[in-house]
């Protein structure tokens, strides 16, 4: 168990702003925020998800740049009221220097912009797949 994650952490120091690595070893965003859920039966909150991408980062940047980033996120996102991209803590494999997860980044909502850039810009340049 010590392998997976430390038993006691300060989330700001040990979890926030760390790099997320997917099951293929690819960088998949940063831990921009955490979702805490207070259990139905009461008691202290538990970390239930990692929030990543502009929707999550915006709130931490404070007034102006945050609002700008948030509006950009809302405008570019297909759904009406998009929340931040959410990665359930259940898919976390390891918390160390990096946060490793057991799914592929292509299945994550946080990769939306990346996919767009790949499809419409970078993928169209010769040699992009070599």
């Amino acid at each position: 168990m010590t392998d997976v994650a430390k038993r006691v952490i300060d989330a700001g120091l040990n979890l926030l702003d760390r790099q997320i690595i997917d099951k293929d070893g690819m960088m998949s965003g940063n831990v921009d925020d955490l979702e805490l859920t207070v259990p139905e039966e009461g008691g202290p909150p538990v970390i239930t998800a990692i929030l990543a991408g502009p929707g999550a980062l915006a709130r931490r940047l404070g007034a102006r740049s945050g609002a700008w980033l948030e509006s950009l996120h809302v405008r570019l996102h297909p759904s009406e009221q998009p929340g931040p991209a959410r990665i359930a803590f259940g898919v976390v494999k390891r918390v160390a220097d990096h946060v490793e997860i057991t799914v592929s980044r292509s299945d994550l909502d946080v990769s939306r912009f990346e996919k767009w850039v790949r499809k419409h810009v970078i993928g169209k340049i010769p040699g992009a797949r070599a």
Partner: protein, 124 residues
Amino acid sequence: MSVRDLAGTQIRFSDLLRMLVLDVESQEVGRVHDARFVKDGPVQGAFGPGYRLQGLVVGTGSFGARLGFDRASVKGPWPLKAMFRRLHANAKFVDWSQIDSIDGERIRLNVPAASLRPVEPLPS
């Protein structure tokens, strides 16, 4: 909102950070700098037991709180270490059970500030 009424709700960690903490006599204790979690909460899928909030690290002067001089095993350089240690010397640990209510930007405690313990270093 009283802590009891929070059951089933969600909080963003970033909202928790920087919240103002007042003790039972409405004395200002400081702001939330960090939160300590223990891996013994409800099971989160393959991750196993989830991280359960144990308590908050509360202090005055947020500058450099993230640097970790006060908690991690950072060794030096000593002038920096001494400076930031001093800056955060008055940091307090607020156990979850000592929280009475969380309202917007404020956290109210059910104990006086004087009864709060100092922050223990993280076990390595």
